[in-house]
């Protein structure tokens, strides 16, 4: 058989490919499957958080901010525990970023608060002197797109079996459930409830008024998303 293969270069190449590919699968797949399983304590995004994630993507935050803490002492001192692949289990797509013009945001929910984000988005240099980040005033005016967020939620639930409405184990031993609304109207109601909690900690009167009137400004969704990064 080997003599035959040696005389037929095409099939020889195919045999080499199959052999190497098989070895690769055996080596890579089990580790990969293990590592990409959700880490205990990771939960899918809620409706408002997903809408905020869309705001994050829309404004290209990932062009300047990474979401990946590497295992170096200098990084873990500043940003917290290094990232694990399982923590991105519900990120579609992941937002690792490729460049840090601004700091990493992987765990920003641990050390920044709603009112800090509010001040910072209005005028970054007012809270971080010398910051080169531009202000994002339109986030306070534009309305978050809950429809798309809900559509994504339903899609990932259907296609990737993202566990909405299921009990998930948390790091402290408790259980948590992330709700997926049954209808679009219900999704809007849920998102508004979440938004009210965020808006209660905010200072901007226009934002408070908008939420009270049933609107969700983009900034509220974005802050909900940033607060969920832990």
């Amino acid at each position: 058989m080997f003599h035959w293969l040696e005389k037929h270069p095409f099939f020889f190449a195919v045999a080499v490919f199959v052999t190497i590919a098989f070895a690769g699968l055996i080596e890579i797949l089990p580790n990969f499957a293990e590592a990409s399983r959700p880490v205990i304590g990771t939960k899918p995004y809620s409706t408002l958080e997903l809408a905020g994630r869309h705001v994050y993507i829309k404004n290209s935050c990932n062009a300047c901010h990474s979401q990946l803490v590497r295992p170096f002492k200098s990084e873990t001192d500043r940003y917290g525990h290094y990232s694990l692949s399982g923590e991105y289990a519900y990120d579609r797509p992941f937002l690792w970023g490729s460049k840090r013009t601004g700091p990493d945001l992987m765990r920003v929910g641990n050390y920044r608060t709603t009112d800090w984000h509010e001040n910072h988005m209005k005028d970054p240099a007012a809270v971080v002197p010398g910051s080169i980040m531009p202000a994002y005033p339109w986030l306070f005016k534009n309305t978050a797109d809950i429809d798309t967020a809900y559509a994504e939620m339903v899609t990932v639930n259907k296609v990737f079996k993202t566990p909405y409405n299921e009990e998930l184990p948390m790091a402290d031993g408790s259980k948590a459930t992330v709700k997926m609304a049954a209808t679009l109207d219900e999704a809007h109601t849920d998102a508004l409830e979440e938004a009210k909690v965020i808006a209660a900690d905010m200072k901007d009167q226009d934002v408070k008024d908008a939420v009270a009137a049933g609107q969700i400004p983009e900034i509220v969704a974005l802050i909900a998303y940033l607060n969920s990064l832990k």
Binding site: P71, T76, D77, Y82, Y111, T114, D115, W116, V127, P129
Partner: protein, 309 residues
């Protein structure tokens, strides 16, 4: 003389000439005592000559050598292979590699397997050990200096470089407590674990003025807030403080162990507890900072305590 050898000699002479022009002429040798330069040039000359003759040898071999021996039966498009013995050195290396591969597969890799996280853990352990040894017994100045640099990284984004809270965006750490905060705490109560444990302070409906025998009034709140925020100087509000607050916070406002925190000044324990549990007040929420080491918390405590003195 063979043409190839002639070409090699011409190339050598040309290159030596070029070397002489480039570095040898016009004092370019770097003077009488520059041995390093002379050795480098000598090395270049030797390299040129050796290269030329090695290349010549192989070119001649390709031109004139004819291989000989018994051909193998196998033949690929007219290209055959000799049935020569494997060179002894190769055989030894092959066997050696086989033994090494078995060792590597069973012992070498499993026992010495490298991982990024493993290297990270080692690096952190080594750094922590060095850090602890270096800063085991810090004097006050070093402690404050360390606290200052941690402050710039961890605290300044909210409290500002001057620790002034940047126009009310965070607590002003140059004063123990602001008037608005005092009013908020009296109105709403507080449970910020400043003592390191749950120890709720009641809201205004639980604050009795021992002097008047009645609940604290709006006017009294205003005057005591000014009094405490002003560093507990003067007489205005002092009577309210003595009647309402002193029972738990002490007559001087310096607090009591297990009862109430110090509201007259910062101290390292207070700072450590805020860092551990976070804090929620009139300005908003401060998150907990649990990623700091004990020494860093101590340093921050010393720094923040020093700010208001």
């Amino acid at each position: 003389m063979n043409k190839t050898v002639l070409a090699a000699i011409i190339v050598v002479i040309a290159m030596l000439g070029f070397t002489y022009v480039a570095v040898g002429g016009a004092g370019g040798m770097g003077g009488e005592n520059d041995w390093v330069n002379k050795l480098a040039v000598l090395g270049a000359v030797v390299l040129v000559i050796v290269t030329a003759f090695v290349v010549t040898k192989y070119v001649r071999q390709m031109q004139f050598d004819r291989a000989s021996g018994k051909l193998a039966d196998e033949n690929w498009d007219g290209i055959g292979e000799y049935k020569n013995e494997l060179p002894f050195g190769w055989a030894v290396i092959f066997l050696g590699m086989t033994i090494w591969a078995i060792w590597y597969f069973l012992v070498g890799y499993p026992v010495n397997a490298y991982s990024q996280i493993g290297e990270y853990n080692e690096e952190v352990a080594a750094h922590d050990a060095k850090f602890e040894a270096q800063y085991a017994n810090m004097d006050d100045a070093t402690l404050k200096e360390m606290g200052g640099s941690i402050f710039i990284v961890q605290c300044a984004p909210c409290h500002g470089l001057q620790a002034d809270g940047m126009d009310g965006k965070a607590a002003n750490l140059n004063h123990r407590i602001a008037e608005a905060s005092i009013k908020h705490v009296i109105q709403n109560g507080s449970n910020n674990q400043l003592l390191g444990m749950e120890m709720p302070m009641p809201d205004r409906n639980g604050l009795m003025n021992a002097n008047t025998g009645a609940l604290i009034t709006d006017a009294e709140i205003d005057s005591v807030a000014k009094y405490v925020a002003g560093g507990m100087k003067g007489t205005a509000g002092a009577d309210v403080f003595a009647g309402v607050c002193a029972a738990c916070h002490g007559p001087d406002g310096k607090g009591m162990d297990m009862v109430a925190p110090n509201i007259a000044e910062f101290n390292p324990t207070l700072v450590a507890n805020v860092l551990k549990h976070g804090k929620k007040g009139v300005i908003g929420q401060m998150p907990a900072f649990n990623n700091l080491t004990e020494v860093q918390v101590k340093a921050l405590g010393a720094y923040v305590t020093g700010l208001s003195k």
